[in-house]
């Protein structure tokens, strides 16, 4: 394992809105932050926004902005003030002694005084038969990536939140028909998204249904087996593609056994700060937020993490933060 002699003041793991906002603030505080962008283990470089299209609710963009473009702008802003980037995944973290040490997939060692965890979350899978076999052959968690391949076909989207509605509407650009399968009889999505989905002629809904198996052969999806939550009956829904929008799982495996998590697996911080249970380790964005999970709230906590890290370093890395 190669190593450098430099110990960074602040290292940020993650390159979504939380990590990049933390970088902007830390860089402007002259902390010369290092951002480990990640490649694939925790999701794509740049985070979940890179998989979206129009972002209409990020303040400051009256006409909306494309998700990937928003991320590129944040990255450029962080870079402008002296952030450096490493485009690799982290495979190991030691926060049990200071300075903290990190190891990248290619074996680079990184040493840092303060660590900001902005590792985000990954799409949840159904874990039903057929899903893994047909992943990438009709089963997908990214409508913006794969919707294109379902022109004039019938696709199913599983989920009932805002992202499910957003993906359903995106898919209508290509697909002949989009069926939303939801386990309850009402959506969790915001009113505006529900209204848009209900008004779309190409979208129909199957309520109170849980997928139990993805059926297909020769690398193609042919149908989805559904179980009715009311009657317990099984039915077969023919379709050409299956898209999942059933929530996310926080990326915390690097910190198993060191950082405290709640019952849902999210990192616990000492609200309203971003201090984790290990002094000098801060958490921001979707990895610690199971309530809001928005680009703007991620950016907000990223700002808080950078300011908390700055104060902690200024106090000499004091173990206490009262």
């Amino acid at each position: 394992m190669s190593s450098t002699d430099t110990t960074h003041q602040v290292t940020i793991i993650g390159s979504g809105p939380a990590g990049l906002t933390a970088a902007v603030y830390a860089a402007r505080a002259n902390l010369e932050p290092l951002v480990i962008e990640g490649v694939i283990e925790g999701g794509p470089t740049g985070g979940q926004l890179t998989l979206t299209t129009d972002v209409e609710n990020f303040p400051g963009f009256a006409d909306g902005i494309m998700g990937p473009e928003l991320i590129l702008q944040m990255r450029a802003q962080a870079e402008r003030f002296g952030t450096t980037f490493i485009t690799e995944d982290i495979v190991k973290v030691n926060v049990e002694q200071r300075p903290f040490t990190l190891e990248t997939a290619s074996g680079n060692a990184i040493s840092t005084q303060a660590l900001i965890v902005a590792t985000g979350a990954k799409p949840r899978r159904l874990d039903i038969p057929g899903e893994a076999e047909l992943w990438g052959s009709g089963v997908s968690a990214c409508a913006t990536c794969d919707g294109f391949f379902f022109r004039d076909q019938h696709v199913v989207i599983v989920g009932g939140g805002d992202s499910a509605m957003e993906e359903a509407m995106f898919l209508t650009k290509f697909a002949a028909k989009v069926t939303v399968v939801h386990r309850r009889d009402e959506l969790r999505a915001s009113k505006i998204m529900q209204d848009r989905a209900f008004a779309n002629d190409k979208i129909d809904f199957v309520w109170n249904a849980i997928p139990t198996e993805v059926n297909g052969s020769d690398g193609k999806v042919s149908s989805l087996t559904l179980k009715d939550t009311q009657t317990g009956e099984f039915s077969d829904l023919p379709c050409d593609g299956l898209f999942l929008a059933i929530g996310h799982i926080p990326n915390t495996w690097l910190f198993d056994g060191t950082l405290e998590t709640d019952n849902d697996g999210y990192l616990i911080v000492d609200q309203p700060t971003t201090h984790t249970n290990v002094p000098g380790v801060f958490a921001c964005g979707d990895v610690m937020d199971h309530t809001y999970r928005q680009a703007v709230t991620a950016a907000g906590t990223g700002c808080r993490a950078a300011m908390d890290a700055e104060r902690w370093l200024a106090a000499g890395g004091d173990a206490s933060h009262q």
Binding site: V39, P44, W135, G136, C145
Partner: protein, 107 residues
Amino acid sequence: MGATPVTDSDWDTEVLASDRPVLVDFWAEWCGPCKMVSPIVDEIADEQGDNLKVMKIDVDDNPGTARQYGIMSIPTLMVFKDGQLDKKIVGAKGKAALMSDLADYTG
């Protein structure tokens, strides 16, 4: 240098008739994860040029080839050997993982 663009029309001569194995990156401008994989593919093109011909195809402009090989998710990488599809890699991966997937073809 990086990966060389290939199209529906020169697919047969550039890919299927190649005497070296060909790695093809199926990508599109609107695909976020493709933007992570493409620079890695370019690096592989520069490092493995002797062993592997490395090409990329824009699925927007070349729907025929994507359809022919049943592409339903991008990025997808495929390796063609002696005119036959020899390996399919679906989804974005880091360089180390890709190199291990391609170990049979690289030096």
